[in-house]
């Protein structure tokens, strides 16, 4: 049974369709990266899963439970961290967590041990007796995450957990998410810092204007979205006219473009065929200074997909 399942999920406001027939299925332990520009529908989708918004139509299930049928049961299974969250500044760190332990009905005798555990997990043990308003933004972010863990949820819904953080704090959050993944939590994380998502997500989904354009494991998406490679070849200036002639005659070469001092070759052959390009250049008397396949990352895919290059 999928841990999270969305079937044709739709959310309409008065004059706006925020989410259009979104479908998705996540197994226990999956880390799903939700990518999309601002206003794409990421937060609305997450809020529907968190039972904070009611879907207009479609189904959203957490651990097999419909989010509209049994709100209490769903809330017991999820930990939700919004992009904009608040904390009680007048509380000490342990008091803040103790309050949420009580709110989640954790027995009084279990609370001290549980608080120590989540503080340890979020590396906030040293700040246990500090007042919340003395914490940095990154620490507050981790405290908020600690709060979402006190009832041991199966699913974590994290809306932009790294937004507004400095690079160090981002790395800390990333490490924390990896730790949570190792604990078997199913995590849905939205972020605009794409390389970080690629690091630890088992699958990603790109959403734009309420529609899930592509989703699946990153490797699969790259294959389906790109379908071809870009080769970067550098040759001496004198050899460039000859190199262009040779390259245009190689099979599977779709386009050749000189960008600065480097040729960008759009190539739709297989990886095995790729060596033919280099051989052709050498046989054609071109002195090759460098030959490499351009790195393609999540950012490239995102840009291609959201520019309407794939749909």
């Amino acid at each position: 049974m999928p841990m999270v399942e969305l079937v044709n999920l739709r959310k309409e406001y008065k004059n706006l369709v925020a989410v259009k027939g979104l479908s998705l299925s996540l197994e226990p332990g999956d880390i799903f990266g939700f990518i999309g520009p601002n206003g794409a529908g990421k937060t609305t989708t997450i809020k529907m899963l968190a039972t904070l918004l009611e879907p207009t139509s479609g189904v959203a299930r957490v651990d097999g439970i419909d989010v509209t049928d049994d709100v209490e049961a769903v809330r017991a299974r999820i930990g939700y961290m919004p992009d904009a969250f608040g904390v009680y500044d007048d509380f000490k760190v342990w008091e803040y967590l103790d309050f949420f332990c009580a709110a989640y009905r954790v027995p009084r005798s279990d609370r001290p041990g549980l608080i120590d555990m989540v503080l340890d997990l979020t590396s906030l043990t040293e700040k246990k007796d500090a007042f919340v308003d003395e914490l940095s933004r990154g620490m507050k972010q981790r405290l908020c995450l600690a709060k979402t863990l006190v009832h041991d949820p199966k699913v974590l819904l994290l809306d932009e957990p790294a937004s507004g953080l400095d690079p160090r704090a981002r790395i800390e959050i990333k490490e924390l998410l990896k730790e949570l993944r190792s604990m078997g939590k199913t995590i849905i994380v939205s972020s605009h810092i794409l390389p970080e998502l690629a690091d630890f997500c088992t699958s990603v989904g790109i959403i734009e204007r309420g529609e899930l354009i592509v989703s699946g494991p990153i490797e699969e998406i790259m294959r389906s979205v790109l379908g071809h490679r870009v080769l970067e070849i550098r040759v001496p200036e004198n050899d460039r006219p000859r190199a262009k002639e040779v390259l245009e005659e190689v099979p599977h070469v779709r386009a050749v473009k000189l960008v600065g001092e480097t040729f960008r070759v759009d190539y739709d052959g297989t990886l095995d065929d790729q060596s033919e390009v280099l051989l052709a250049l050498i046989h054609g008397g071109v002195r090759v200074q460098s030959f490499a396949e351009q790195d393609t990352d999540l950012e490239d895919i995102f840009l291609r997909v959201t520019k309407g290059l794939v749909a």
Binding site: D90, F99, F100
Partner: protein, 271 residues
Amino acid sequence: MSILRENPVLWKDLRNRARSRRRARVNRITVVVVIGLSILALYWFGLRGILAANSARLARDLYMLFVLGIETTLLLFLVPSLAAGSITQEREQQTWNALLLSRLRPAEIVLGKYVAAVLPPLLILALFAPLNLTAAIIANIAPIDILLTGLHLLATLFFYAAVGVFCSWACRRTFIANAAAFAVTGFFVVGTFILYVLAEEMFRGGRTYLVVEEFLPLWLNPYMPVTLLMDRSSRMVTPSLVYIVFCFTGAFLLLLIAMRRLTKGPKELEQ
């Protein structure tokens, strides 16, 4: 009741009221000293006035001064502002959704907020109680009237706290919730008199005189029922009973509406 004893919202709000990190220690000491001196002064001058009163009538006037002039006025100023920020402040500091998503029931959240707003003014009423009682004994006020006056104060406290919490649930901003709560308070304090004046004008045209005691909306004015009860010539009990029943029923209904609507989800996300 476990809904109150084990209610983390109640204890959080009470702790927040008692301790403010942003308030400097010297300010806290000043506040404690000022409150302490005020209580001492109140008892000193209050008891002196009561004991110096050489007639039951004077003692009765002092009793009225305590109950209506000081305590009711204090409640009408203090309670709506204490209660009106209870939910809006959670929204403003973006902690409201976290509360809703916890395993707390809407009744626990609303009642926790409500009781936290009611307890500090209740403490003030408790401080006044010995003075009220001393004045009442010297003024020879009947026990049933003392009881009705006490219930009147509690009814005022519970009703206007419920108005505050309801406005806090219904509005997004603390400022607006405060304004709405004080508008309701203003209607009962001033508006009922304005209604009376307007009604009297209408009746005067018909050559009939409208008697204050019989104008029902005035029975809901927080000052009027006790005034009518303490008036030796008329001693009307009914307005007090109507006022008390109205306040307790109104408080119950307002809280019930807020709780039931909250069960359906956060209001601010319904668009």
